[in-house]
């Protein structure tokens, strides 16, 4: 539904606030909804609030799945390329 992005917690601030970093861009947001967030964590930022944490292990797992698919596909491509 709503625009939200993973960003790295760069610093914890008073009042349940934190500075997050997204590709070099920094913004102060509220972490009141994710009190467990620590520096280095990736949080999902939505309307100025972290609404959840990103599980980096799961992210890597998903990416690995894609990579596998790609490797497999690249193979197929090569085969197709040879065929066409």
């Amino acid at each position: 539904m709503c625009l939200a992005l993973p960003a790295r917690v760069a610093a914890l601030l008073p009042d349940e606030m934190a500075t997050v970093d997204l590709g070099g861009v920094r913004k102060d947001i509220s972490i009141a909804l994710t009190p467990e967030a620590r520096v280095g964590d990736y949080v999902i930022v939505h309307v100025g609030h972290a609404i959840g944490l990103l599980d980096t292990e799961e992210a890597e797992r998903t990416l690995a799945l894609f990579a596998e698919l790609n490797a497999h596909d690249a193979e197929q491509d090569t085969q197709q390329g040879a065929a066409s």
Partner: protein, 352 residues
Amino acid sequence: MSIKKDYLRPIDFKTGRIDMNHGAGGRAAAQLIEELFARAFENPALREGNDGAVLPAPPPGHRLVMATDAHVISPLFFPGGDIGALSVHGTVNDVAMMGAQPLYLAASFILEEGYPLADLKRLVDSMAAAAREAGVAIVTGDTKVVEQGKGDGVFISTTGVGWLPPGRRIAGDQAQPGDVVLVSGTIGEHGVAVLSLRESLEFETAITSDTAALNGLTAAMLAAVPEGSVRVLRDPTRGGLATTLNEITRQSGVGITLDEAAIPVLPQVEAACELLGLDPLYVANEGKLVAVCAPDVADTLLATMREHPNGHAAARIGVVTEDPHRFVQMTTRFGGRRVVDWLSGEQLPRIC
């Protein structure tokens, strides 16, 4: 009684502010012109203090190009520039986009009561520096003051005049199917730099506005390729690259197909746009140009652009197609295809 100087006490550029007197046309107004504008823009036409400036005629065979822009940016000072420099660059670029050499500017200021004179001086000095750098003279001007709450600090309208060589026609209706679309560098920096300071959007970024005069770049480009092979030049300001390309397809009655992967965007601009829900294609630039050229000169033109400091990141980003619908389309980096429409409405940060 000895003869008095015209203005007995110099203007207080430290703590003073614009008040209604500065716009009333009397002695205070004359003093502001003399001690601020005439001094910063220093040139004989302005110094004369007449109702207008007398300028030499263009060389034989040359025509005139005239362009104007009102500048209303907020905040007035932003990373990489300010409204003063911007007001020079914006109009110099519009003249340059016609293939002309910009030479003279007229500047009119609408100041809001209460605006600090120290800031005004900074803006005006920056404007003077930008004009010097671009090789143009600010030859005539005007200043008005509006009550507090009827303006927004400073508005500057500039009008530029330049000489157009014989036989040259560079215009939005000249694009032809098969032509190549080039952009002079990374897009979106100006808009992002300005938004980064907007109240309630504030974010920190190293991005600075790209505001720059492009007449040096266009002169180099036009010298490098045969007359007629550069069809269109345009600076993608408000509405960004997407809107500029749609203007061109509309004027020329053609289509354009872009290659998203080829469009240069700085990573921080991408990131900031993600954060705000914006598309860099619609974000304003103030020191970039789009060129449409004949396919056979595209490489030469691109090489020339890349040699120029204002074009070092130039790229070939698309081709002109035949298309009665005059769509700008794009092959996405992802491999898909989509329309790149006009900016519709304001570029509001998308949140949901």
